[in-house]
Symmetry: C2
Subunit: 457 residues, 2 copies
């Protein structure tokens, strides 16, 4: 029997708690969060705002009551102030809480760019349930919104706002949206969005926001960028990415890495004895390059929480391991899917010397089903491989067709170290409502194979 104290109630904390209790019902488990809620799906918030998800309670995975019933003690609105590793103690709401094992699941927080007057009424970030509720209310009484940032959350909010009849100005610091993709994919995504909804959306690139301006009541009225661009709007959402929430850990000298996340080994241990970390506050390892990478996604937090919950309850010989990520991600703009896994071509070129790679790639445009099926739709798939070994390095897919299936399949190809030749031999199930006789993945393999066999470098 151990006393396990968990700080944080997003995805990883509750998962850790539930698993640790199931591993050993005698474990005494306390979960502390400074929020009013635990165990909710933050990834669902854009769909709550949009109205696809009607009731905010649907995003709650498990209530505090359910946890209490299982024997996990939940402390809402309890702020962890300081960890004292030597005393195996955390100061929470000014009281000392002792632990045998401590799990830090403090999650992530929105990255806030350096903007003058950045905090004012009418300016939001999207992270917590309350943010979602407020943005939804704001949206329903507004006509024009600004979104700062063209990443995943930016695109998902764009869908939500357009669906609800708003016009939107998207302001991006970089030269393109969805910068985890290769440039031409960013362009294709942008073109699709503007072709569909160009009358409601304007996009501004390479614009660094300098200052927010308020109206007489102190409410957001407009922004101004370094280049002099001024945009008025009813409200503004900052969607410039997230950063790991690590102040508590850093203050206790728990090591953080190059990405800012807490460093953990593959058992989810930090550098401090009896202190573990899981979820959006940690740094991950890319399974392909073995380099640090920062991924703040609910599925990863869940996996890390599961491994942590097992390991805090067991002996080293029974430890489970979390081996890392590929950086897989997916989102959509209405019916247009945007997905990727592994390394894109531009990054593959950048790291090619260091990792002794000779990146090749092919982009195939093809129907997702047999072309004669009336619901078949176009998809564009780019597959990146290493010419030297034939190994698959990554894939990017976009389109109204079933992109999702192909990217899912490529994740397992990458993780298993399969080669271009192996793709050809993949016996993917075929029938006209599901795939062309020669699947787009197989076509990509044919083309990469030709490049492998060609003399040129």
């Amino acid at each position: 029997m151990k006393k396990i104290v968990i700080i944080g109630g997003g995805a990883a904390g509750p998962k850790t708690a539930a698993k640790a209790k199931r591993m050993n019902p005698n474990n005494e488990i306390e979960l502390y969060t400074d929020e009013k809620l635990i165990s909710y799906s933050a990834c669902g918030l854009p769909y709550f705002i949009e109205g696809t998800v009607k009731n905010i309670n649907q995003l709650i995975v498990r209530t505090p009551e359910e946890f209490e019933k299982q024997g996990v003690k939940i402390f809402l609105e309890h702020k962890a102030q300081k960890i004292i590793p030597d005393k195996k103690c955390v100061i929470i709401n000014n009281k000392e809480v002792y632990y045998d094992e401590l799990v830090i699941c403090t999650g992530s927080k929105p990255f806030i760019p350096n903007i003058k007057n950045v905090k004012m009424e009418g300016v939001y970030t999207l992270k917590h349930i309350e943010d979602g509720i407020k943005i939804k209310e704001e949206m329903h009484k507004s006509k024009h919104a600004i979104i700062l940032g063209g990443g995943y959350i930016g695109i998902e909010l764009l869908e939500a706002f357009v669906q609800n009849g708003l016009s939107v100005s998207l302001v991006e610091y970089g030269s393109r949206i969805m910068r985890v993709f290769d440039s031409e994919f960013s362009d294709m995504i942008k073109n699709h969005i503007l072709e569909r909804d160009g009358q409601w959306i304007e996009m501004h690139f390479l614009e660094e926001v300098q200052e927010f301006f308020a109206d007489n009541s102190g409410r957001f009225k407009k922004l101004k960028t370094k280049s002099g661009l001024e945009i008025e709007a009813d409200f503004c959402v900052i969607a410039s990415g997230v950063v790991p929430n690590t102040q508590l850990a850093k203050d206790a000298k728990i090591a953080t890495g190059i990405t800012g996340g807490i460093i953990v080994d593959n058992t989810m241990k930090t550098n401090m004895e009896h202190i573990w970390a899981a979820g959006d506050c940690t740094e991950e390892k890319c399974m392909l390059t073995k380099r640090p990478i920062y991924i703040a996604l609910g599925n990863i937090a869940n996996k890390e929480g599961r491994v942590t919950g097992i390991n805090v309850s067991t002996e080293p010989e029974n430890y489970e391991k979390f081996e890392g990520v590929l950086g897989s991600a997916i989102t959509k703009y209405f019916d247009f899917t945007i997905a990727l896994t592994g390394i894109n071509y531009e990054n593959a070129i950048k790291i090619s010397d260091k990792f002794n790679l000779q990146p090749i790639c092919t982009t195939v445009v093809k129907k997702d089903k047999a072309g004669y099926m009336p619901n078949s739709e176009k998809i564009t798939l780019k597959v990146v491989a290493d010419k030297k070994t034939g190994k698959i390095l990554g894939a990017q897919g976009i389109g109204v067709g079933d992109v999702n299936k192909r990217i899912n399949t490529v994740t397992s190809l990458i993780q298993s170290g399969l080669t271009i030749d192996d793709i050809f031999h993949l016996d993917l199930p075929y029938s006209p409502p599901y795939s062309p006789a020669i699947d787009i993945l197989i076509t990509a393999a044919y083309r990469l194979k030709s490049q492998m066999n060609s003399e040129e470098n």
Copy 2:
């Protein structure tokens, strides 16, 4: 430069021809078929009958004219009568045609059960374009149809007929439909079909049809089974599976295997010098068990045709290989997907001694997307693995939700030899419109892992 003669115009023949011509434009290529058409998608015929595919010409992949333009000579309605390997010659329409390389792509033909008066007006099989046209005409003037056989074609025709307002009697020789699945999956598929459309459909199992009866005009009127069951209907389709079409090959002493298909090595060579075979007339190898298996599917025929087209045009050191199949397949009954790959649990048990397997399995029922997304749908996924090695042996999936994606992913897991542990580490892309935070595949891996760790056998 070689003269390459191809017998058969379905999927493998035209693919071989096109690839062989592209490999070396000097190759002289002649394709002979006893049909009036070449290069069509037979798998699309049920959807043409249903009306989803409006025009039969949509099923034509490439016309004879397109092939002729490419320099491939097409001979329609030319029947190959005899192969004389010693003379490197085929008798076609009573004339001698000489070859350097001969490719047999004679495809498959419907299996016809031993039924008295089996040939009469109003009784059909579904294999060729003309069959599809005739059945569609028949369907439009009928109220009640009989389908003999509850396999893929049977289920697809069932959908087509119900969609067009017919009532259907499905008569199955075995004890269940979709016998490539485990029994309980057959039952779930049957239950789904009958729950949806029970007022239009009756299913009869363990019924061996003995005799067909005609009306005064000689047209099908009713059938009678061994047990005494009599069913009247406007017409009857025999959908009792297909068998390889190998008489031409057998007459020339070309070896066929235990499944009835022509035996080829992994370069698609038969046992006779300069004679190759590809497509539905050949026997495949199961990549998992290395045992012979017979698969008649357009995607496999295409792959085999591609490999054959390359190999007949090149030297042995450049041969491509076709390594085999997993027996992956997919179909649907309206929005209900039915898919599998690899070995089912019942078969795994049967072969466990011979292959030193200790099969375990788990069945997970879960939503395909985040549960709070209003379009999330249930899927049922069964994954079979070997307890000794942790390797994945197969998976079966059914449901209105996105089954297809999961089965596609499992095919690559099987082919790469990944284990249950590896599934847990699969970084499948996640967002609420595409997957729950913990994908059904990951849940299956958790459960199989528990079984691996348990003491029991």
